[in-house]
């Protein structure tokens, strides 16, 4: 069985095809980050406009790469139907559901975050359930216990900004481009770690929820207090901000591991690419005998391989989408 997967929930247009026996056959992605960079964040309408231009040609490219024909070799279509930007989701769901309809094949609507949670299963060295996943991206900050496929417990999440969003907004304050994560990481390297001490939000409180809005305001006030910050000031602020975020994520991840008794932590989402976060998690949790897994960068950020994979799993358990194009901007993980 071969499943075509489509992902358009935010600012990446992605298509992949996965085979039940041979695994991932082809996957391609078009990132819109250059398009949104001058706006300091994703502009939903521009994202939707780009998805409709890119998705069709991307499907053709993937089929050519895999040397497959849509009408003869594809057994089902899977697409992200939420959570995400409504207009963006509608493009992938609209095209995907119609494609399945016209091919006379089943369609499967999948949950974007669930696809992220199971993305590590795409790798040869796949983690065994149960595991704890830290999902950190521009749209999400979540700690989830994955007991098995379709059995998830959200342990904690951000009560305001997603961590990647905080990186983007602070980057804007520092006069850096979008996406903010890599740029702040670069600037922070030149920063003095001892100059500013930013708060580690909610670490003193019990529980596993996050909050990054106050930290963001703290950055803004610090910059205002500096009057006209020079290059070193900015680097020092970037350093203090990155340290605060990394510390917070590390503390909460360790707490989630302790809480669940799990021996594996999977880190997914774009912020998972942050080097300091990787080092610190490996160091602290590694010492405690916890296996820390970072999926390959291409499966860490938004991609369609994870959508095709989850589509296949759902299909195998009998899931079928009715003849309706359904999207949900909000969709709790525990409702899948």
């Amino acid at each position: 069985m071969r499943v075509l997967g489509i992902e358009t929930s935010c600012d990446e247009t992605a298509v992949a095809v996965i085979c039940e026996r041979q695994g991932l056959l082809a996957h391609h992605l078009f990132s819109q980050s250059a398009l949104h960079s001058e706006y300091g964040g994703v502009v939903p309408e521009l994202a939707s406009r780009d998805h409709i231009r890119k998705l069709g040609p991307l499907i053709q490219t993937v089929m050519r790469t895999a040397q497959l024909s849509l009408s003869e070799d594809i057994d089902a279509i899977a697409y992200t139907s939420g959570p995400g930007l409504m207009g963006a989701l509608m493009v992938g769901a609209g095209l995907g559901r119609s494609l399945a309809f016209a091919l006379g094949k089943p369609a499967v609507a999948v949950h974007h975050m669930e696809a992220h949670l199971l993305a590590p299963l795409l790798e040869d060295a796949a983690p065994e359930c149960p595991y704890v996943a830290l999902l950190v991206s521009g749209g999400h900050t979540l700690l989830v216990e994955v007991r098995s496929v379709a059995r998830y417990t959200v342990l904690g999440e951000s009560i305001d900004d997603a961590v990647g969003e905080a990186f983007d907004k602070v980057a804007l304050m520092l006069g850096l481009g979008y996406p903010g994560g890599p740029q702040i990481q670069r600037l922070a390297k030149q920063g003095d770690p001892g100059r500013f001490e930013f708060p580690r939000p909610m670490v003193k409180r019990a529980g596993l929820d996050f909050s990054f809005s106050g930290l963001k305001t703290h950055v803004l006030n610090t910059l205002k207090g500096l009057g006209k910050p020079g290059p070193q000031d900015r680097a020092d602020v970037a350093r203090a901000f990155e340290d605060a975020v990394v510390d917070t994520l590390r503390i909460k991840s360790a707490r989630a591991i302790e809480h669940t008794g799990s021996k594996t932590l999977v880190v997914a989402g774009g912020v998972g690419a942050n080097r300091k976060l990787r080092q610190q998690l490996m160091q602290q949790l590694g010492e405690q005998g916890v296996k820390v897994i970072f999926p390959a960068p291409e499966f860490c950020t938004d991609n369609a391989a994870m959508v095709a994979q989850l589509g296949l799993l759902r299909l195998q358990s009998g899931s079928r989408e009715p003849l309706s194009i359904r999207v949900q901007s909000r969709w709790a993980l525990e409702e899948v």
Partner: protein, 229 residues
């Protein structure tokens, strides 16, 4: 010749099957629910026409202007079906569909089609019937404040579309004549199908991935001022 037509640019969701000269159509006022019902409507018109998807020779769609998500929905469905069945596509203006409907229903030969574009603007274009009884665009489709509409219409011109509801007075003034208008008219797939016929016959089609919306409005995002302090 057999082809499907889809129109979802406004609150009206409609599909039609052109079946060797006969048109079978369905239409429903379904604001914000087009995505849920449109494929079932396609399935029903195909069943009524005893036509399988593999028997189609093409697909036409209302490419806008209209609600952004609506026109993208029609485009994405068109792409999905056309890619699956390897079909040629004809994009048809949603304003032209309004004009063609006015001709078919009221016998008029000139139409000022006007769809409410929100933000105190309208999508507007003037159409004139040609010798093939097809409404032809005069000038270009615009998104503009109603008070800036600049057209030269005849006595027998008819106004059509949702833009005539809030702005009838201003539009009549801009026309300089007291013409009849139908503010309740919405673009429908039936007339997308009518307009697509000569284009399919002449081979004026595009490939599946070129089934793209025509937004007309392009200023949709503002660049932020840097918050650098």
């Amino acid at each position: 010749m057999k082809y499907l037509a889809i129109e979802t640019a406004t609150e009206c969701c409609s599909v039609a099957l052109f079946h060797d000269g006969e048109i079978i159509s369905e239409s429903e006022l379904a604001p914000l629910r087009h995505n849920e019902i449109v494929l079932s409507m396609c399935e029903r018109v195909l069943a009524k026409g005893e036509t399988g998807l593999s028997q189609l020779d093409g697909i036409a769609f209302g490419c806008g202007p209209g609600a952004f998500t609506g026109v993208r929905l029609a485009a994405s469905i068109t792409q999905g079906i056309a890619l699956a069945q390897d079909l040629p596509v004809v994009p048809v203006s949603s304003l032209a569909a309004l004009a063609q409907a006015a001709h078919c229903r009221h016998g008029v030969s000139q139409v000022l089609a006007c769809i409410d574009a929100r933000m105190q603007e309208v999508y507007v274009a003037l159409y004139q019937l040609d010798e093939e009884r097809i409404m032809r665009l005069q000038g270009e489709e615009q998104v503009i404040a109603p008070a800036r509409v600049d057209v030269d219409v005849g006595e027998d011109c008819m106004g059509c579309g949702s833009g005539w509801k809030p702005y009838a007075e201003i539009l009549l003034k801009r026309c300089g004549k007291s013409i009849a208008f139908d503010a309740d008219a919405l673009p429908q797939a039936e007339f997308v199908a009518v307009l697509a016929q000569p284009r399919f016959e002449r081979g004026e089609t595009v490939s599946p991935t070129e089934a793209l919306p025509v937004y007309v409005r392009h200023d949709v995002a503002q660049k932020p001022k840097s918050r650098t302090v």
